[in-house]
Point group: C2
Amino acid sequence: FSLRGESANHQPTVQPLHLLTVFPCSCHVLQESLLSSASGYSNYRGILNWCVVMLVLSNARLFLENIIKYGILVDPIQVVSLFLKDPYSWPAACLIIGMGLSFYFSFCFPGTISETTGLIFHIFNLTCLLVIPAATILVMTSMTPVGGVLSLGVYSVLFLKLYSYKDANRWCREIRQAKAKRLSRSYSCKCMNTHSGATHVSYPGNLTHRDMYYFVFAPTLCYQLNFPRSPRIRKRFLMRRLFEMLFFTQLLVGLIQQWMVPTIQNSMKPFQVPNHLIWLFFFYWFFHSSMNFVAELMQFGDREFYRDWWNSETVTYFWANWNIPVHKWCLRHFYKPMLRTGINKFLAQTAVFLVSAFFHEYLVSVPLKMFRLWAFMGMMAQVPLAWFVGRFLNGNYGNAAVWMSLIIGQPVAVLMYVHDYYVIHYGSNT
Amino acid sequence: FSLRGESANHQPTVQPLHLLTVFPCSCHVLQESLLSSASGYSNYRGILNWCVVMLVLSNARLFLENIIKYGILVDPIQVVSLFLKDPYSWPAACLIIGMGLSFYFSFCFPGTISETTGLIFHIFNLTCLLVIPAATILVMTSMTPVGGVLSLGVYSVLFLKLYSYKDANRWCREIRQAKAKRLSRSYSCKCMNTHSGATHVSYPGNLTHRDMYYFVFAPTLCYQLNFPRSPRIRKRFLMRRLFEMLFFTQLLVGLIQQWMVPTIQNSMKPFQVPNHLIWLFFFYWFFHSSMNFVAELMQFGDREFYRDWWNSETVTYFWANWNIPVHKWCLRHFYKPMLRTGINKFLAQTAVFLVSAFFHEYLVSVPLKMFRLWAFMGMMAQVPLAWFVGRFLNGNYGNAAVWMSLIIGQPVAVLMYVHDYYVIHYGSNT
């Protein structure tokens, strides 16, 4: 007589029910521990909460002391003053944004000017967006690196947005022409699925100031007609994101002032861990708090600003998932159009990395006024690194390798610039 | 004319295929960010890997220095010597294990002695298992607290194991009697589903020395006939667990020696974070590395030594999932039998907490020779705490509350004892 089959996880045997419930003789099942990779288990939300609780607890005293010493709103005001201190970059930025938009706006109306004339205007406009701020920063001696990075960042974002705006509108025109040629049967189905009661707009009805400014401020780089909209502004969600924004701004400025700057000035030790933490906080602050805050305010529905890059087992997966707005833009306006012209996949990928490397270098070298190519090389080094990790490591080992490259690789690149910058500007100190 | 329906995530509209692929006009979908709790996303395996990488990196230098200074195998040897230094506890433990088992063994054979005589022997035997070591420790002045905790721990485990062994065998006897009475039709189905080719044993064929010693050393507290067995010993798995065991032993001893002891001796500051980290490492060392190591060696198939307590959103969930061997024992041999006698659920739960509180107190007070009831009260305080967290907090807030109670509550209880211990023994120093 056997008691084997009584466990719920085994095949049931014919036994009277009351004996099974009264005598649970068998209570073990063949299974793996959750933390063993063989179990395939992956729900570690609690670990993330643990990190947050530990962070808050271990910083609570520091914050309390800081608040008692300096008052509460010192650092946010300091951040605001970073913008206002740059009279040369900020007015210039406003000027060109206005100029760029009005220029652009004029040739979006179909029929007013020809496609070719429009293209020439467009290329001229985009070139200006990249060249003028860079030239301004290089010429002006009063520009700080922080102000430079911020204004160049704004220009780069605008550049990508206008590129996408032009492309999407051109596609609309081409579809309209195709429609006109074929005297469409199938096109006549006007799908009026409106989101959250907003009226549905079709080309060229989208070419309004209102629509364009919505796109300029929306947290995305890819233009489309009728963005998906969230049904309402959730006030508690908005308040939480606002609190996080202020908290992390304070934390980031505090960390940089109290932790990194002295380390660099004193002894040029490698400072991997603080730098990595600052990058993590920056990620959360920018991609979760700030972008969700803006999106909630504008009822912008698509909140996929990042995917689960923390689980990346390959370098490629990391680059494709940590910054979705840029990744989406690259895919839609650069990678896929290239594939359509017949270029092969590997070449197209390398080209995307090249463009990305160019922008990294542009955003770092111009404000620092040092052309060292470290950022460019760091970005291009991702191609062989991706090959190596993909070839030799997988699973949790691959994930650990991606983390290591973030924890060690990125700060080394930053250190190169910071080192050179300090040697040039405070050469006598070191 | 509308471009709306082109995104893959929207309802498809009737449009020619090539236009859809060539012009991806619509590329946004209504969705939440992954880190928002509304997204329901929970795969954070990468965060766990990040914690491990950060731990290794930030300790690497410390370890290297330690190894250069003291050599590699200093600490493991020190741990072994903890056992050998206790001549009064260790031989006694061996003696009583032998005694307990042989005693027990004799009355397991059905028919040799009556059920009542067996029960008296059993109760006498179990009482001895709890009283004799406690008395030994209290009487012997040469006993260290560490040695005391270890030997009491071994006895408590043996107590729970023998209790389960007797219960499970009694159930087998009762089923056999029921079978004999009813002249079974349904019982005749002998399910011979053997695991990994091992022969299937049925009562009283299980009453052998070999079977009993397997149970005594197996990483479980609940006896059953025919434990599920893993098909083979995986050498790489075994080596990894062995490495982890050695690594964490070194880490734990190092942390306690270099971090906690000075903190307590110097200034009695609250030492939440180190204590909490030590508990976390202890958890991994004991429940993952050590128990899996033993299980792998013994081809013991059921590796569920813990469940996902890190995601606990209530205190009850935490206590039911962090220590599965004890939880399983309580459920099978204490809670469910009580329910069967008609006691209500809340009373039974409180009784389980009472027994647990008794064992916590027993394991702490006796080796320290201080009867302060802090551990007992700490354990009983879980009942109102569980009610509070379950009533007012849920989701990630509940999880954060559980973490806070672990990070703050547990070290406070430990601190109480340590403080009193130091005041008694090194009163002049503080």
